[in-house]
Amino acid sequence: MLGKSKLYWKNVFEGYAFISLWIVGFVVFTAGALLGSFSISLTKWNIVGTPEFIGIGNYQKMIEDEFFWKSLKVTLIFLLNVPLNLALGLFLAMLLNQKIRLIGLFRTLFYLPSVTAGVAVSLLWLWIFNPRFGVINVLLKYIGIKGPAWLGSETWALPALIVMSVWGVGGGMLIYLGALQGIPTAFYEAATLDGASAFQKFRRITVPMITPVLLLNLIMGVIGSFQVFTQAFIMTKGGPNYATLFYVLYLYQNAFQWFNMGYASALAWVLFLVILAFTFLILRTSSSWVYYEGG
């Protein structure tokens, strides 16, 4: 350290000076809030009154809180949408990677839902899932099937929201499309000369080459699924009978409807740790299935 040149320290100082505004922003608005929420998680606090220090009481309470486990279970089941979105996103990206007429229009149409406001999408799907007049049940009726009550059914409400999540597949699809277009065509030409079938090319060239993007979409999908809120807040309010009580909705209810800010902060920290664990697990296993060109 002492052996560093004056120029080195000058560069260090200047580097930090250039990012100083960002650092202040991070410390005050992110790190400060994080530490603040952790300290609040050790208290019983209804926002209006004085916080009462209860140590790890809020964390202990979670163990006995049936709605904590219920919301965690609902959210974990909702994770099923991730592989669904990964597969469908890749499928659509491959379709939209063809050189056909109006391809720009098709790409826009498939991408559009993923940038539509969550509230608008939720209201639209409320209609689609309506048990009597919704388009799904009307179509089912044509083939002689009486559709379920969807959002009004304890059994079907969560699967309905999983199906609805596919509506936003366009975001991941676009990233796949970028990755697909980055694969050198020489690979496919060489494989064709060697007599490889379309499936072999897909399995041996396409999939390995886009695994970094698969990893990205997987991690983003898992994080996004743990944070799902809008659909349940708008469409089901966590019902019926708590069948769609997502973790973040329960957290929100505690924080802003019931003013259990200490407990809500503890819930937030547990969510952070759960997401961290999932992300860590995915990254740890990624070395065995993600291929990076150049090692």
């Binding site: 000076a17 100083s20 505004l21 209804n46 009004g152 019926p240 209810q253 802003f256 409807q257 003013f259």
Partner: protein
């Protein structure tokens, strides 16, 4: 002299900017602006006044503040109107931080929380000092403002939750008006039985496709669910608020009545149908009766917003315990952190007064379309009777009289969680047939007992 900024200078400015930003972020705003710095303004006082509402409420508050200032020279009111969600997070935080506005509106749950936190001051002495000029007996809903016999607020607005009925549909069907049944026969004429009988007549398949297109009743929200349970003689808690009693036979009878409207009599759409989203609602004339508050629903009488049929209010039908009506107030409290308590109280007196209604009305502010009456004398005032003349105003007044108990919102831990999450979820379970009324009530009590235990 060079005008080019050197890298060293730029870094200095950035460091200074960062420090300033950090200090600005840590700064705590003052509770109130106590006027300008000029000597001439030294006598002027500005008090903060916050309420929840929409953008449309801003001109109302600004206009009333101007009327107040004309009577109280040197005292300005600075209104802050926030949407419901923001209000319920910002005000508690401001109360906790000692930076609450001098006066602010409190719905029943916020009122109790603010009181428990010592965020509001007792007003009994202030009221006594006003004496006859204030005429406290004329003020509606004392219950929401009282804690151990001491007054902590004056009403900004008060609402009852009643049922709206489509007069046109009833007349076309040759049915008696619920309002007439109430006035002519009381509980003998307007009760659960007549409700069901009328419902069977007016729930119809209009196009003959085997599906119901017109329902009699739109269903109860948490407010009218509680009114129905109480009309059956049930109660959520015992008097000491230490035990849940909503699984008592009387309360279960009330829950069963609500469930039967859907499952047995089929005069109310099932919850899963999302009828309202499909245009089967009161405003489209496809629901004969639906819940409505006497503060919000009356906006349908505004010019340009009228419904294509005649409608009116009636109380939730009587159960065996008689009529019960949800009523509540937003109370104006004086913050314990206010440095201008007297001026803040003066504002709250004016804001809840008949004068504010009438002077506001004369200057184009129609409180009848946003605030329910804060005083019984307002029911007689042109500020109320002229905008709402098409309605049965004595019926609206009946809601205030039948708000039993008063306060209607239990003074329990987390009352809104109990009523609008636990109770509504379990009643919904009963309405879907997923649980019997007794099972739903037992599950309600299990959850409510947990909430009680958490907060003991």
């Amino acid at each position: 002299m060079s005008t080019q900024l050197s890298r060293r200078s730029m870094l200095k400015w950035m460091a200074a900017g960062s420090t300033t930003a950090a200090l600005a972020a840590c700064a705590v705003p003052a509770a109130t602006d106590s006027g300008g710095g000029d000597m001439a303004d030294m006598e002027d006082i500005t008090i903060g006044w916050a309420r929840h509402g929409s953008e449309g409420d801003v001109p109302t508050e600004t206009g009333l503040a101007e009327l107040f200032k004309s009577k109280n020279p040197g005292v300005s009111v600075e209104p802050l109107v926030l949407p419901w969600g923001d209000y319920n997070t910002k005000i508690p935080v401001m109360v906790a931080g000692g930076t609450a506005p001098d006066t602010f509106g409190c719905h029943p749950a916020l009122m109790a929380e603010t009181h428990t936190a010592g965020g509001s001051i007792p007003l009994t002495d202030f009221i006594d000092a006003y004496g006859a000029d204030l005429n406290y007996d004329d003020v509606v809903y004392h219950g929401d403002a009282l804690f151990d016999g001491v007054v902590f607020g004056l009403p900004q607005k008060s609402c009852t939750h009643q049922l709206r009925y489509n007069k046109t549909l009833l007349e076309e069907a040759g049915m008696p008006s619920p309002g007439d049944l109430y006035w002519e026969q009381g509980a003998d004429g307007w009760n659960w039985n007549t409700f069901i009988e009328m419902g069977k007549e007016l729930t119809k398949d209009l196009d003959g496709d085997g599906e119901t297109d017109q329902y009699f009743y739109g269903g109860s929200g948490g407010t009218n669910q509680l009114a129905t349970i109480r009309a059956a003689g049930g109660e959520v808690f015992d008097e000491a608020i230490s035990t849940c009693t909503i699984n008592s036979p009387d309360a279960v009878e009330g829950i069963k009545f609500m469930a039967d409207l859907v499952l047995e009599h089929k005069i109310q759409p099932p919850p899963e149908m999302q009828a309202s989203e499909l245009g089967i609602n009161f405003n489209t004339g496809k629901i004969v009766m639906a819940g409505g508050t006497t503060c919000d629903s009356v906006r349908d009488l505004r010019e340009g917003y009228e419904l294509p049929f005649e409608w009116d209010f009636v109380l939730v039908p009587a159960g065996k315990a008689g009529f019960r009506c949800w009523g509540d107030t937003d109370q104006i409290v004086v913050s314990s952190s206010s440095e201008h308590a007297q001026e803040a109280f003066d504002w709250s007196v004016y804001r809840s007064s008949l004068d504010a209604w009438e002077e506001g009305y004369d200057s184009g502010i129609k409180l009848a379309f946003s605030d329910g009456p804060t005083r019984y004398s307002i029911f007689e005032s042109k500020a109320y009777t002229e905008p709402l003349g098409a309605l049965d105003i004595p019926m609206i007044r009946e809601g205030y009289i039948n708000t039993i108990p008063n306060p209607f919102v239990p003074r329990s831990p987390q009352p809104y969680r109990v009523l609008f999450t636990v109770m509504t979820t379990e009643v919904d379970n009963a309405l879907r047939g997923a649980k019997t009324a007794q099972e739903a009530a037992d599950d309600m009590c299990a959850q409510i007992e947990e909430i009680l235990a958490e907060n003991t």
